[in-house]
Subunit: 194 residues, 2 copies
DNA sequence: CAACTCGGTGAGTGTGTACTCAGTAAATGG
DNA sequence: CCATTTACTGAGTACACACTCACCGAGTTG
């Protein structure tokens, strides 16, 4: 890479980093491209040299973040088949980037179809891990014969609900931290054999 | 009421009705006041004679709709203490206005604080009914000793999740209809004694 | 019926925002 | 060392939207 390419790469990263910070604070929908440019310390027009429009910036940003998250979760989850620890790991990982996921959950229903599908697809990969673990648990007679997809929607729906309405649930500090035990206990109760 | 007052009242109702229809279709956030005026068959400026700004129109609209819903649910729920039937009634009532509630759930996290608080307050009244019924069930040894608020968040969170992402769950027809049994079964499973 | 009130009109205003483009200067390449 | 390429600049453009206001005409009032 020559000087120019390095500089270009550097600018691109500045944009994405700035966008992520603002996304966490105010959400992407309520953030002007000019604000992102300002935070990145570049001219407004420069942003559009790197991304043809706002949407493609958002898509790239979310792709990067979500794939990081996916990689992490895979590493932590793949080796364990114990649902309880899997859930624990999953919640911990969300907690680390709670601001980001809270914004995501809040704006998810308002995103364009393509973007929403991408996000839900990532979620479905994680669901699949849980699905397998629960299935194995049922076969080994450790869990009750629940409707697995429905059960998982209860889990993911609730987590999403907490995240999207975070500000209504906690003043400061994390929602996930606050309701961590409750989520795990209630979910394990659903799986429990009678 | 003289002719003028009747006419004024009539126009006000036309605005609210038009706003509700558009709200269901496109959501209030994505609807311009000019579109509401057009749908109501009045001039754009007239809207602002009846409401000082867009927000106050939205607040009045939601107040009307949610209080109608509250009244209905109270009538159906108050007389029964059986959680299963209560839930059934609740879901039926949502189903009747699913388009409305779907829009509401989708946009809820984006609303201004005041409005969101109002909506969540309504929800909390309904929660209270469920809370009492479950409490009674536990005392009568019919249900397990669950964490009632946490359990109810699982319920309301999941319903909210289905409604807000309705278009991702069903092509046409109702989400609530589709997942009706699953919601009830899973929730009753949480309450079940081991 | 004349004077006045008032609900309604719709072109106009101000603002916020996504995106453009002519110009600049530094890097590159022959 | 000159010609060309290219990342970047930021004032400018087009558009959408909430809200205003001078004007109109039907309704009310004395």
């Amino acid at each position: 890479m020559n000087k120019r390419q390095i500089q270009k790469q550097f600018t691109r990263e500045k944009i994405i980093n700035a966008a992520k910070q603002i996304f966490i604070k105010r959400g992407i929908i309520n953030t002007a491209t000019s604000q992102i440019a300002e935070a990145a310390g570049i001219a407004h027009g420069t942003l559009f040299l790197h991304f043809p429009n706002k949407d493609s910036l958002v898509i790239e940003l979310l792709d990067i973040e979500l794939s990081k998250f996916s990689d992490n979760i895979k590493q932590l989850i793949v080796e364990t088949t114990d649902v309880n620890t899997m859930l624990e790991q999953y919640l911990n990982l969300i907690q680390e980037e709670e601001g980001f996921f809270s914004s995501l959950a809040r704006e998810l229903p308002s995103y364009k179809d393509e973007l929403r599908r991408k996000i839900l697809f990532r979620e479905s990969l994680i669901r699949e891990h849980f699905h397998q673990a629960i299935k194995k648990g049922i076969e080994q007679n450790a869990y009750a014969q629940v409707d697995i997809p429905g059960t998982l929607t209860f889990l993911f729906g609730t987590i999403n609900y907490y995240l999207s309405l975070k500000t209504s649930f906690v003043q400061d500090g994390g929602v996930i931290e606050k309701f961590h035990d409750q989520i795990i206990n209630t979910f394990m109760k659903i799986l429990k054999k009678n």
